[in-house]
Symmetry: C2
Subunit: 446 residues, 2 copies
């Protein structure tokens, strides 16, 4: 009988594991995901800011994996684990038995215990998040166009992005471009360039994992796009009409400030999926504050060599300088391939040959609006630290190569080329309920 491998999650980790196990007839693979598509998350902010359409960065899992005849894709939600009888429990339908389990369920955003903020400051993890954020941004300009009270108009024209990591920086850069470039001639009562875009970060600099000079360069490039960068600034409150922040570090004088804003975007914290915590409970494994499972050097759960947890669902050892693996795409892609190879080696009786997982830092690239960005690619030496156009060009190349699906690559290239030439953004639809918020329809006169 074939060795049954169950993979929960079709993101970078799960998909790469599935593709690396491919073709080996000794396996009977089941990939379970709540969505029917694989999402290229690094470009999600481009959907949120109207540059790309959802379908251009996502591809149905079935069509990516259709050639793998020993693989079944299941649309379903894993809600529990029976580690003793080796079965994954689904929210509907029978349990799925496994010989080896790969948990790659990723993370969603976390409000550090302030779940009430979720309503006012949406995060960016799924396609639906992205279209909801796109809707908010576009509606804010529409509402400002129709608002004649200056204070209220200012609230609509102020955008606060919480979190100065790669997602926050890329969102802020895109918003700067939208306000100063894309929409510049679209309105009559407002000038979109008057929009205030604030990027708020609790640490002393943006892009904390990058070297200091790259952070400084990113900040300068953001400011050139009109983004106000507020470091050493902690968010202590969010409601419908704005954000309350504290500035000044620990021993200094701490000041509280109120920033009126109708659009607040959350790019600050993540938390492992709830299935990761269920795996920990079922196996007695530890989790950290973010709900990530502590795994062994081979990325297995302690005492359960048949259960791997990878990507954002785990704290993976083997990262840079002896630390954990960072929460970037490569931090799931590499483990995905690694566990697939480890499973193959075990089946071939070479389990002892499998070395602990070791993360290779391929480098980071962040893009900041049009023709700008920063890179940090250690293995390229000094050449790996680029800013501006060179960083942007590198980013372009990498993302086109990695994007799933050849038609998507072509379509995205066309869109980008066109946006570049026309300063436009092709996908600025307000979908879902189409009207402005907070509007009640009065009885029309008879």
């Amino acid at each position: 009988m074939a060795h049954r491998v169950v993979i929960v999650g079709g993101g970078f980790g799960g998909l790469n594991a599935a593709q690396t196990l491919d073709g080996d007839r000794r396996f009977d693979i089941t990939l379970v995901d709540r969505h029917n598509y694989h999402l290229f998350q690094p470009l999600l902010y481009q959907v949120a800011t109207g540059a790309l359409a959802p379908g251009e960065i996502a591809q149905p899992l079935r069509s990516i994996l259709r050639r793998h005849r020993n693989l079944t894709v299941l649309l379903g939600e894993a809600v529990g684990l029976d580690a003793a009888s080796r079965q994954v429990l689904l929210s509907d339908g029978g349990p799925i038995p496994y010989d080896t389990l790969i948990v790659a369920t990723g993370a969603h955003h976390s409000y550090f215990g302030n779940d009430a903020w979720a309503r006012f400051a949406p995060g960016l993890k799924t396609i639906d998040d992205a279209t909801a954020i796109r809707r908010r941004i576009l509606i804010a300009f529409e509402a400002a166009e129709r608002e004649h009270v200056p204070e209220r108009r200012l609230e609509w024209m102020t955008f606060v992005i919480v979190g100065g990591g790669p997602t926050g920086v890329e969102l802020a850069g895109s918003l700067g471009e939208i306000a100063h470039d894309t929409l510049r001639r679209d309105f009559r009562s407002i000038d979109p360039a008057d929009a205030r875009i604030l990027l708020v970060e609790a640490l002393p600099r943006v892009l904390p994992p990058y070297p200091e000079d790259r952070s400084a360069s990113a900040r300068r490039q953001l400011e050139r796009l009109g983004v106000v960068v507020r470091t050493d600034t902690r968010v202590v409150g969010i409601d419908e009409h704005g954000v309350t922040v504290e500035t000044g570090s620990g021993t200094d004088h701490v000041e509280t400030e109120r920033i009126p804003a109708r659009t607040v975007l959350w790019a600050a914290g993540v938390q492992a999926s709830s299935f990761a915590r269920k795996v920990a409970t079922a196996t007695g494994a530890e989790v950290d504050r973010s709900g990530r499972v502590k795994v062994e050097p081979h990325l297995t759960v302690p005492g359960h060599p048949e259960i791997f947890v990878i990507g954002d669902a785990a704290i993976q050892p083997g990262g840079p300088k002896g630390g954990p693996v960072p929460g970037v795409a490569q931090g799931a892609i590499q483990p995905g391939k690694y566990v697939a190879k480890a499973i193959k080696a075990r089946l071939a009786g070479r389990a002892a040959d499998v070395r602990p997982f070791h993360y290779v830092n391929r480098g980071d690239v962040a893009v900041i609006g049009r023709l700008a960005g920063v890179t940090n690619i250690p293995w390229l030496g000094p050449f790996g630290r680029q800013s501006g156009f060179a960083a942007w060009a590198l980013w372009l190349g990498i993302h086109i190569v990695y994007l799933i699906g050849f038609a998507n690559r072509l379509v995205v290239l066309v869109r980008w080329a066109w946006s570049f030439l026309t300063h436009g953004r092709g996908s600025r639809l307000i979908t879902g309920s189409p009207l402005l918020p907070d509007i009640e329809e009065p009885e029309p006169p008879a």
Copy 2:
């Protein structure tokens, strides 16, 4: 003071009116729409069937009209009309005064008084309709893959399209292609080619406005794609598990039949927007059973030469053979241009020169899956009656030329070329709530 023209609706009629009035500084134009985009409705069925993404057939009205400096686009909903003081009332914000009003609010689907059917048989008029239908179709195959009871699986694998007009025919053809071609290797427990696709039409043939031989050809082409065409068949009931139909014409023996099906799509009837009825009430104009306003030969409301009603919101005289103008894209585009020219002529004191509206039949094209279709283009003589590949090629050319936005044209061309070569469909995402319907999440074991 400039002459104030208010256009309600940014579809084919309203947009063409706005563009034709363009540049004339004597006008101060306001275009009001509930959506921020113009939608290329003839391709909506391609979004519903996953061939194109929503952003590829829609373009923000602001960006289409940005060069028109004497034109303001307003995101808002017109809910009433004060014909005496010449003002359009919005659901929020102050009323908009006009000197001339163009009502181009279109139509939505109608269930002929059976509004309870709407839940089970969605129609196709908006982007959100299209993504909801796409979701239903894709989830039906996912559910069938997981369903092991044969009767229930058959329910999931049966698709009924109600209405044999162009939309119904194009939806049925696309579904045939999806089942037999696109998904052919995607599933493990089911064979998508086993799907039953039924096109139900109350009249004796599909595509009633076409000549009989074209209808017959369309039927043959549909049957080649595995679609079962049921003419002379009236739907008398729809619920969650299927459709009840009556067959046999008036004097014949009438039989009632039950067709079990989880996916029913509505392409049968339309009804003018509710604003059209409000215009009629405010002006004393007549409406027909579908809520369309009866307008004069100059497309104005009787007694109100300053109010034009065009497109699907009106019964427009001047159609073929002395009848009304058909409810196709050209039936709104031509009136849109006509009223703009009429308004210009009036302002120039040449009102008496404006002749009654006269519709020019440019012809009809319907595409039926891959490389197939029918055309009916009277002014091309015998050449205007094509089937199969020639019809498909004509359709392709026309739709690419008419599509709004150059980048969209390029992107759509790339997608179509790619789909054609790979037999794929690029935009098959299940968005919105991602899980299968009717599933309750059980408490997971502790």
